[in-house]
């Protein structure tokens, strides 16, 4: 019955963390994704040519929280929803940031996440924004492939995780990823159509 008294009971302490509704559930869930995102942001920044980082991981964390907190309908409708939303939000943040830097004609140091997966991405200023556009196009053709790529690229999910999140088989995810990656390369680094660009890049 007594407010302050409850705080002392270990079981109840746990409960207060857990049970106090969607707000605190969100607070518990988010730090994990932040960590993942911070990691990704660092991976990106390490590859960036500039020493002047404008979007620090902490800022990214803050922005992600604000956006999620204002979007999330409590309680989050399942794991799939939560992760997809995080990936989508990360995509918005990174793309917005890159877009505003480009508009200010300044160095774009953030590109996309998951450099191990698409190591050739991020070498051009416009990559982040181009990737966003390409993903929109892909979503028009094969929405599932676009979602898979989004989880992979912006949240760093493995193929097995993506399969678990979207409740589809891992071979399906693998096939979709292979296709989406080739498709993306053709969109963003066309081989035969503009060979000159390839030289400019390296």
């Amino acid at each position: 019955m007594n407010e302050a008294g409850r705080g002392a009971e270990p079981i109840t302490c746990l409960l207060e963390e857990w049970g106090s509704g969607s707000d605190s559930a969100l607070r518990e869930l988010l730090p994990l994704v932040y960590d993942r995102m911070r990691y990704l942001a660092h991976a990106i920044m390490r590859n960036s040519p500039s020493d002047h980082k404008t979007l620090q991981p902490t800022a990214l964390v803050g922005e992600l929280y604000l956006r999620l907190a204002s979007t999330l309908p409590p309680p989050v409708a399942g794991r799939e929803h939560f992760f997809s939303l995080c990936a989508r939000t990360m995509r918005w943040i990174l793309t917005d940031h890159a877009r505003s830097r480009m508009a200010q004609k300044r160095q774009v140091e953030l590109s996309v996440a998951s450099p191990q997966y698409l190591p050739w991405l991020g070498s051009r200023k416009s990559d982040t924004v181009d990737l966003d556009r390409a993903l929109n196009r892909l979503a028009g053709l094969d929405p599932r492939a676009a979602r898979i790529l989004e989880l992979r690229v912006y949240l760093g999910c493995t193929a097995a995780e993506t399969a678990e999140i979207l409740a589809i088989s891992k071979p399906t995810v693998d096939r979709s990823l292979t296709m989406a990656r080739a498709w993306l390369c053709r969109e963003l680094r066309p081989l035969d159509r503009a060979p000159a660009q390839n030289h400019a890049e390296s």
Binding site: M1, N2, E3, A4, G5, R6, G7, A8, E9, P10, I11, T12, L14, L15, E16, W18, G19, S20, G21, S22, D23, S24, E28, L29, P31, L32, V33, D35, R36, R38, Y39, H42, N47, P57, P74, P75, L118, P119, W120, S123, L141, D142, G156, T158, A160, E161, E164, R175, S176, T178, M179, A182, W183, L184, C185, R186, R189, L191, D192, S202
Partner: protein, 822 residues
């Protein structure tokens, strides 16, 4: 360039592409051409993607190569001078810098050492000063199983470095596997590790990054723990920029650490548990260590470790010198109980210290019974319930499952007594869960929790447990759960079912509990006399138990009783003083009573003193309440109560400066504990604004107060007392800042609340609302209307008793000045 994208079946493309890529490069195109029943557009698309795939591959290789070249560049040339040391070769590279084998360059000592050079890029502004104090602390850590910190400093370039004893050994896991050590030998090494960690803990140093690569075993089988130094030195770096992936090792981190909470002894125990698990089984206890979902589940304490025997493989067995069947048998039973206890997600269930873990292993090695007991069904049910809490809709089923296992437990003859205690625990737990949910997020119209409870009640009625006492415990539990939902009819119904049973079996503790629940509900319903009678009866029962009465229950019941007497019935100081004296001596005598609970009782007493006009005594008591509770839980949400009382006290004195200070603290406490967007934070913000507008930044006060109001309107819409208080504070802020029209709207909204909801007779809030409206009408220049409002206020204050004589005088003089002016 246009493509016939929209006519393409992408599912089929992805299948064809994957199949084509299985083939040797030269055969792919012809294979695609041979595929029957695909259009030429489709074939062209697949071929184009095959080509794009190859291109992507080439681009990737090129990118990875160029990056690797950058990474491989050495940080320093072959030999570097670091302070008085000269590096010999690189021993390893970590997240923060490089470890060298080094020796004194000045020849003062002939000793090779390990020198860890930390890149200045990873350090914050205070790092160097912190580094120096920590270094002194760590240098005192002398134990045969801990590598000694010998020296340390900062290079002229600003890079800090640490010099440690150099150990020629191999990491614990590799050492065990290379020597094919059997389980007892592995446990022997692990015991040395536990002792080292325990020694550090007793010197108040946590390791925080325990992992096999930080534990070296020397040629003669001695365990040496590395890196106490750096792990302790990095907290602010962690916060700043280096990612967890590079510094912390999530593989060995406890759920709390994964959540980024402050480290404690329990976290090191957990890490030791993971190390032990790996030493025993060769596998990681939580599935795939690289999985994001796995990490997510672990941090939310939703990932129980797999039983070690289940993870043993024949390869692991041969590495441990025994057949698989022997290893599985060894790993089941006591050893499994030990390692799983160290890996409990709930720190309260883990071994409290590394020494306790070591003692149990020692018992196991000597064939004594271990303390880690196998888990009972009921205990598992509680864990299940905790894991599933987020899925609220499923919780109704869970509750039924709980009553099921409670019955089971009660029937099992051997477990009767111990299980009864656990039943109570489960129920307390369930209560906590429900009341915690309803505090912050309570919406009576939303179905989840309420419906779940109704469902549980119905189930309990339909399938009552055979044992009446079990049924009574569940009824009491449901009664408690209905309280925060304001379903007092249900509370009474369940208490009525439980209480006679407790009386019949002469269970005074639970009978007193049931009476207290009923009294609590009655307080809310306005049946104060009944509430007082029931609290007294409960206290009487507890008094009969004497020393056997649970101290916390006694304290809590007495405390609630005192609350009714003071906060609601406004009984005089003389009547309540003995109750509070009792509470304080109980609190002083019994350290088991939570200090925060004691602090709350002190806060109520402080308020009582303030009401009696003993303002300075009250201030001292409230400050003492803060000091008392902070010993147990500094910065916890409990602080809001004494701070609220203090802010009230200061506002009565019109000491706006102190009022702003304490309410700002209250706001920060709420923001940290329940979030910046919570009702509590919004309330505290409004109180702060009320003070700040008088003495400080007027614009900021108005801005903050306006921003806080929508949160209140959403979470506690009118008519509610929360809304009343918020609207009143906002109106006062607006009045002070000269926004009289806007302020009047909120003053009227506050008044409307007091006219809509049921308040106890003699409640002062209608009067306060009229007074407020009068002030805003004055502010707007509506004098006749203001006069009428002040007269309304005066009339109610007059009936509210002597406590409000100050206010009465205030509105009278306001009314007089108005009628004089007219």
């Amino acid at each position: 360039m246009p493509r016939a994208d929209s006519f393409i079946d992408w599912e089929q493309v992805s299948v064809l592409l994957s199949e084509a890529l299985e083939l040797p490069e030269s055969e792919r195109n012809s294979w695609i051409d041979r595929q029957p029943a695909i259009s030429s557009v489709m074939a062209a698309e697949v071929k184009s993607l095959v080509q794009a795939h190859q291109h992507s591959h080439e681009l990737s290789e090129r990118a990875v190569r160029s990056r690797a070249e950058v990474v491989e560049q050495p940080d320093h040339a072959s030999s570097v001078r670091v302070g008085p040391y000269e590096t010999l070769r690189v021993l390893g590279r970590g997240g923060m810098g490089v470890v060298y084998l080094a020796r004194r360059a000045d020849g003062e000592f002939d000793q090779t050492v390990a020198l860890k050079l930390i890149s200045a890029a990873f350090t914050g502004p205070d790092f160097v000063s912190r580094f120096k104090t920590e270094r002194q602390l760590l240098a005192g850590l002398t134990h045969p199983n801990i590598t000694r910190l010998l020296d340390g400093g900062v290079t002229p370039q600003g890079d800090p470095y640490l010099v440690m004893e150099y150990i020629d050994g191999s990491p614990l896991d590799r050492y065990c596997d290379a020597a094919c050590l059997r389980i007892p030998a592995r446990l022997g090494l692990f015991l040395q590790l536990c002792k080292a960690v325990d020694f550090a803990h007793r010197n108040l140093i946590l390791h925080r990054d325990l992992k096999p690569s930080n534990v070296l075993v020397t040629g003669d089988g001695a365990v040496k723990l590395l890196d106490f130094g750096t792990a302790a030195l990095i907290p602010e770096i962690e916060a700043q920029q280096v990612t967890r992936a590079r510094l912390l090792t999530p593989r060995y981190a406890s759920p709390a650490r994964l959540r980024g909470e402050r480290s404690s002894v329990c976290d090191d125990v957990f890490s030791l548990g993971v190390i032990l698990y790996e030493l025993l089984t060769g596998a990681w206890p939580f599935g795939d260590p690289d999985s994001l979902l796995g990490e997510f589940k672990r941090a939310t304490a939703d990932a129980p470790a797999a039983p070690p025997a289940a993870r043993a493989t024949s390869q692991a067995a041969s590495c441990r010198g025994v057949p698989l069947s022997t290893l599985s048998r060894e790993l089941a039973g006591d050893l499994s109980a030990i390692v799983l206890k160290a890996l409990e997600n709930d720190p309260a269930l883990r071994y409290a210290t590394p020494a306790a873990l070591a003692a149990d292993i020692d018992r196991y090695l000597h064939g004594h019974p271990v303390e880690a007991r196998p888990q009972t069904p009921l205990y598992r049910a509680a864990k299940f319930l905790r894991r599933r809490w987020l899925e609220v809709s499923a919780a109704a089923l869970v509750l039924v499952a709980i009553s099921g296992s409670a019955v089971l437990a009660a029937r099992s003859a051997q477990a009767a007594r111990a299980e009864a205690r656990k039943t109570a625990e489960v129920n307390r737990f369930l209560n906590g869960m429900l009341s915690a949910a309803s505090q912050t997020n309570f919406d009576p119209s939303r179905y989840t929790v309420a419906q779940m409870l109704d469902e549980a009640s119905a189930q309990l009625e339909k399938h009552p447990p055979a044992d009446p006492r079990t049924a009574a415990v569940l009824h009491l539990s449901l009664a408690r759960s209905y309280v925060p939902m304001a379903r007092f009819d249900r509370v009474a119904q369940h208490v009525d079912l439980a209480l006679p049973v407790f009386r019949a079996v002469n269970d005074k503790t639970d009978a007193a509990g049931a009476l207290a629940v009923r009294a609590y509900a009655e307080t809310y319903q306005g049946s104060y006399d009944a509430a007082v009678a029931h609290y007294r009866e409960a206290l009487e029962l507890l008094a009969q138990l004497g020393q056997q009465a649970p101290a916390e229950q006694v304290f809590e019941t007495k405390s609630s009783y005192a609350e009714v007497l003071t906060l609601i019935l406004n009984r005089g100081l003389a009547e309540v003083q003995p109750v509070y004296d009792d509470l304080f001596s109980l609190g002083a005598r019994d350290p088991a009573i939570p200090r925060t609970l004691l602090a709350q009782a002190m806060s109520n007493w402080g308020l009582e003193l303030a009401n009696a006009g003993r303002s300075h005594e009250a201030e001292a008591v409230l400050k003492n309440a803060l000091a008392t509770g902070r010993k147990e839980n500094p910065g916890g949400m409990w602080e809001a109560v004494p701070l609220l009382r203090l802010s009230w006290l200061y506002s009565k004195r019109q000491d706006w400066k102190r009022g702003a200070e304490v309410s700002a603290r209250m706001r920060d406490i709420a923001a940290r504990n329940v979030g910046p967007g919570s009702v509590d934070t919004a309330n505290a913000t409004l109180i702060w604004a009320r003070n700040e507008v008088m003495i400080g930044d007027r614009e900021e006060a108005v801005r903050a107060a306006r921003a806080a109001m929508p949160i209140i309107e959403k979470a506690a819409p009118a008519p509610s007392l929360t809304y009343w208080a918020a609207a009143r504070n906002l109106a006062l802020v607006l009045q002070e800042a000269g926004f009289c029209d806007e302020g009047e709207r909120y003053a009227r909204a506050a008044l409307a609340v007091t006219e809509t909801i049921h308040l106890p007779a003699g409640d002062s809030r209608p009067a306060e609302s009229w007074q407020l409206l009068g002030q805003l009408l004055v502010c707007r220049g509506e004098k006749p209307e203001a006069l009428a409002a002040f007269r309304q206020a005066a009339q109610i204050y007059r009936n509210a008793g002597p406590l409000w004589s100050g206010q009465l005088a205030e509105v009278r003089s306001a009314a007089e000045s108005l009628s004089g002016a007219r």
